[in-house]
């Protein structure tokens, strides 16, 4: 018995994958060769070892991470689906500021000369701004009509969620990754109707986010008014230091202007 059979061939024989001729040859060899019989037995043993390996238990933080992601997914669905009326949970800082601008501009329009179609002009302008409000899109081109709207151009488009998620120290990495997945992609997401200011974030939050953006030199992509270790906190997603990453800050409290003490910061991949 000089010509032993390779283990792979023996494994294929066991699976019935060999043609009739090879099957006959290998079977005959196995019949006489103790060493190859041992290999066949060991191959069956590999399967038994795999089968006997205890299944790993699902860690709590992984289960929670899944729940968080799906809750956020459900919120998105509620916003964009037929029940869009329940959309107040997700608002946009940008739209809140637009609303304020629209009031200011409407007043200005009335005070100056714009007559008749003035409101439509303002509304068209706002509409245009919405189309350009993807997180990465510079809005300078919109500035013509809006006068000194520098704040809009640099701080626009930071959607704010209120998931109420209780972020935890142990689960932060997974939770932060889930939050980063909520960052709107390049395409502008449907904005809440102008006029639904009920869910808009407080101006203090807008100020705080602008503060963070200025100090870090990063873009604020998303904020979530939530909890951290049981206490109120704002989670802020910034563009990362390197491509393909995002940074998530945990800011305790309500994130008022000047109050950007960061409790924790994690960098997560962004794809």
């Amino acid at each position: 018995m000089n010509d032993h059979v390779e283990a792979e061939v023996i494994a294929e024989l066991a699976e019935g994958l060999l043609d009739a001729e090879t099957t006959a040859e290998v079977t005959a060899h196995l019949h006489d060769c103790a060493e190859c019989q041992e290999v066949a037995a060991a191959l069956a043993g590999v399967s038994r070892t795999l089968a006997a390996t205890p299944a790993p238990a699902l860690p709590t933080h992984v289960a929670e991470g899944i729940d968080t992601r799906l809750a956020q997914e459900a919120a998105v669905r509620g916003r964009t689906g037929p029940e869009a009326a329940a959309a107040t949970e997700v608002t946009s800082l940008a739209s809140a500021r637009r609303l304020r601008w629209s009031r200011a501009l409407a007043a200005a329009a009335a005070a100056v000369v714009l007559v008749g179609g003035g409101f439509a002009v303002v509304r068209d302008m706002l509409q245009q701004r919405q189309h350009g409000s993807a997180a990465s899109a510079p809005l300078a081109r919109d500035d013509g009509g809006a006068g000194e709207s520098e704040k809009l151009t640099t701080r626009d488009a930071a959607p704010t969620l209120r998931t109420g998620t209780d972020y935890t120290s142990a689960g932060l990495r997974a939770q932060a990754a889930a939050l980063v997945h909520r960052v709107p992609s390049a395409a502008p997401s449907p904005e809440p109707q102008i006029g639904t200011e009920g869910g808009a974030p407080a101006p203090e939050l807008a100020g705080c986010l602008a503060d963070i953006a200025e100090r870090s030199g990063r873009r604020v992509l998303l904020a979530d008014e939530a909890r951290y270790e049981g206490s109120p906190a704002t989670l802020v997603v910034l563009s990362g230091a390197t491509a393909g990453t995002a940074e998530v800050l945990v800011v305790p409290g309500d994130c008022a202007p000047g109050d950007d003490a960061v409790a924790r910061r994690v960098t997560v991949p962004r794809d």
Partner: protein
């Protein structure tokens, strides 16, 4: 975990398909119930396939989100569990292929070196009765396989699913599943042969994958 069919009878009488249909119609609780039914099993599949807990957690989250979004595209001619497994396995394979620019050994060098070292030492310090040691060894050994062989062995040998079911999950022919399993087992022989039976360990582990034996 013997069969995929068991799942319907568990916590509730509502069949998986019905839950998925309710979810597609806007029922906010249906998908959560579906996830609770299957997440333990899906975790086992993801972790064993990927070998890394963080990566597996990310893949599993991605998979459930995909399923959440794609529920209305579910075709009723397959079992929901088959469909869910397919999404989970694909999420894992996608991640591992994206990572493939990194060194060829997905588990990291330590784990593999560990296996190699043990394989070369007849008294490799393995306690065959220690379940966690054995599990660790299995994970490290699986990490040495190409991802397609690993996925097939996880589903067939570890999860115990029938070959034709695994073929549907992986969307390949039954023969392909068998062939991946056969080649995978042969490659695992030097790593896991000794776990089966300490008595023959010395003989079995000397054969590197069965290739080129005299």
């Amino acid at each position: 975990m013997s069969a995929l069919v068991d799942t319907v009878t568990e916590t509730s009488e509502i069949p998986d398909k019905e839950l998925l249909a309710r979810h597609a119609k806007g029922d906010d609780t249906a998908f959560g119930e579906l996830v609770r039914r299957h997440r333990e099993r899906m975790w086992a599949v993801a972790l064993r396939t990927m070998g890394d807990a963080d990566e597996a957690a990310d893949a599993l989250q991605d998979a459930f989100v995909s399923a959440f979004r794609a529920a209305d595209r579910f075709r009723g001619d397959a079992a929901v569990t088959t469909w869910l497994h397919r999404i989970v396995v694909n999420a894992c394979l996608d991640r591992m292929r994206r990572r493939a620019v990194r060194p060829a050994v997905p588990m990291g060098d330590d784990a593999t070196l560990d296996v190699v070292a043990r394989g070369q030492d007849p008294h490799g310090g393995i306690d065959p009765t220690g379940a966690s040691d054995a599990a660790m060894d299995v994970a490290a050994a699986l990490a040495t396989l190409p991802v397609e062989q690993r996925a097939a062995l996880v589903l067939v040998d570890m999860m115990g699913y029938p070959v034709d079911e695994v073929a549907r999950i992986l969307e390949v022919a039954v023969g392909t599943v068998k062939s991946r399993c056969a080649r995978g087992r042969a490659r695992l022989l030097p790593h896991l042969g000794h776990l089966r039976n300490q008595g023959t360990a010395g003989n079995v582990q000397g054969r590197e994958g069965g290739a080129g034996r005299p």
